[in-house]
């Protein structure tokens, strides 16, 4: 397994883990990583009867940013999508690893990897970075959406490597309010369309300013596969809400 390091000589000096236990039994680095996640842009995931929606805020600090060039929601393969809250560069690495894991599985079995298997493998990688020499934990929490055969699953993976299956969840800034909002709005009979509306409304709760198709991203997983919505599709959804 290849562990990326900033400079080879520095990590040679740190062959011990930088994530160490505190006297109270906590791994403080992981707590801090979770802080980094809570400081990140909000993201939301909702599982409906017939699919899953994941959405994220993509507000940029300046109007000079070219928003179309970076994405907060990415495809892992044509059936699984991934979103995050936290540090973008850390997300890039995990996305890359997740894609490799999915392709490796396909090479071996010629079947699309079930999302529960993918999240397990990704979580193993995340955990490695809490118990290896010279590295820090990842500063992202991931949302993975996809199907296992015919059953939809929404998984969240934390910097510790712990993962959970959710019916609905919110991460990043304002996540407590987001989860409270979802608890009120969620029911087990939601259709995918309803879930998209609720996801947008959840993001809107903590949104500063005007929500447009350029400053949020939405991805949908259904039985046919996963895809990220185009700005014009997002615009249509926003028009029915705002």
């Amino acid at each position: 397994l290849c562990v990326r390091k900033v400079g080879r000589t520095m990590s040679e000096r740190y062959s011990f883990s930088l994530t160490t236990f505190s006297p109270s039994g906590k791994l403080v680095q992981i707590e801090y990583a979770l802080q980094a996640v809570s400081a990140g842009a909000p993201s939301v995931g909702i599982k409906a009867k017939n699919g899953i929606v994941i959405a994220a805020e993509k507000k940029q600090k300046s109007v000079l940013y070219d928003e179309g060039s970076i994405h907060k929601i990415e495809v892992v393969n044509d059936r699984i999508g991934m979103a995050y809250s936290g540090m973008g560069p850390d997300f890039r690495l995990l996305l890359s690893k997740a894609r490799e894991i999915a392709q490796h599985y396909y090479l071996k079995f010629r079947q699309s990897i079930p999302v529960s298997q993918l999240v397990h493998e990704v979580a193993m990688v995340v955990q490695e970075y809490t118990q290896s020499g010279g590295v820090r934990p990842f500063g992202v929490s991931l949302l993975l959406a996809g199907f296992d055969d015919d059953v939809p699953y929404l998984y969240q993976c934390d910097p510790s490597g712990a993962y959970f299956a959710w019916r609905a969840t919110a991460m990043g800034k304002n996540y407590i309010n987001g989860k409270t909002f979802l608890e009120k709005r969620y029911n087990n009979d939601l259709e995918l369309e309803d879930a998209v509306h609720i996801a947008i409304l959840t993001l809107k709760e903590g949104f500063d300013g005007q929500m447009t198709e350029d400053n949020i991203e939405i991805g949908i997983a259904n039985k046919q596969g996963f895809q990220r919505l185009s700005p014009s599709e997002i615009k249509d959804y926003l028009a029915t809400i705002l």
Binding site: L107, K108, F109, R110, Q111, P114, Q117, H120, D149
Partner: protein, 205 residues
């Protein structure tokens, strides 16, 4: 003499109506000398998936153990049975890993999809080139004879009893025309709720 013909084997798999059958002879020989008449060549992977391994006997033992290892780990990890198609692909990958020092077996996979019970049979060569078929797959030292027998006897949508008769006759008569295979046959008929294994009395020569 090819190393694949050192021990001798006749093997065939057939598709029926919502069932599959896989059969093999029981001889283990060292060239002309018969050593054993109860050598197992077909291995149960799970209730609905069997794999037959014609070829060099030592590799039959090694590969069957290795496949069991991979399959068991998969079932523990994913908490479900492996689909026959996925299993076939996994075997192909494992064989190709030894592309330049291969295992001398040419596996035959036979099974039903764990959910839909759709029949599936496939064969492959020793370096993992797969071949799926919707009628029959043959393997071993008497493939020419088996192809002839299967081509004439097989018809689509046979019920399990009919499939048993057909596959048995195909195998018995093919191995009788091959010096290196025979000495009894084992036939497994795999249906969605049971597997019937029968041992056939054959010409013991």
């Amino acid at each position: 003499m090819s190393i694949l013909e050192y021990n001798g084997v006749g093997m065939v798999a057939m598709v029926g109506k919502e069932c599959v059958a896989i059969a093999a002879d029981r001889r283990l020989g060292i060239q002309a000398q018969t050593i054993s008449t109860d050598f197992q060549k077909i291995f149960r992977m799970n209730d609905k998936l069997y794999v037959g391994l014609p070829g060099l006997a030592t590799d039959v033992l090694s590969v069957s153990a290795q496949l069991r290892y991979h399959l068991n780990l998969f079932q523990l990890k994913e908490n479900r049975d492996m689909k026959p198609k996925a299993f076939m692909n996994m075997v192909c990958i494992e064989l190709y890993k030894n592309r330049f020092g291969p295992y001398f077996v040419e596996p035959v996979v036979a099974g039903l999809d764990p959910k839909t019970n759709e029949p599936f049979i496939a064969g492959m060569d020793l370096i993992g080139c797969p071949m799926e078929a919707d009628d029959f797959i043959v393997g071993g030292t008497c493939t020419e004879q088996l192809y002839g027998m299967c081509e004439s006897l097989w018809k689509p949508d046979m019920e399990p009893d009919d499939l048993f008769e057909t596959i048995s006759q195909a195998l018995l008569n093919a191995v009788d025309r091959d010096a290196l295979s025979g000495w009894g046959c084992v036939v497994h008929v795999i249906e969605k709720d049971k597997v019937t294994t029968r041992t056939l009395k054959a010409r013991m020569d």
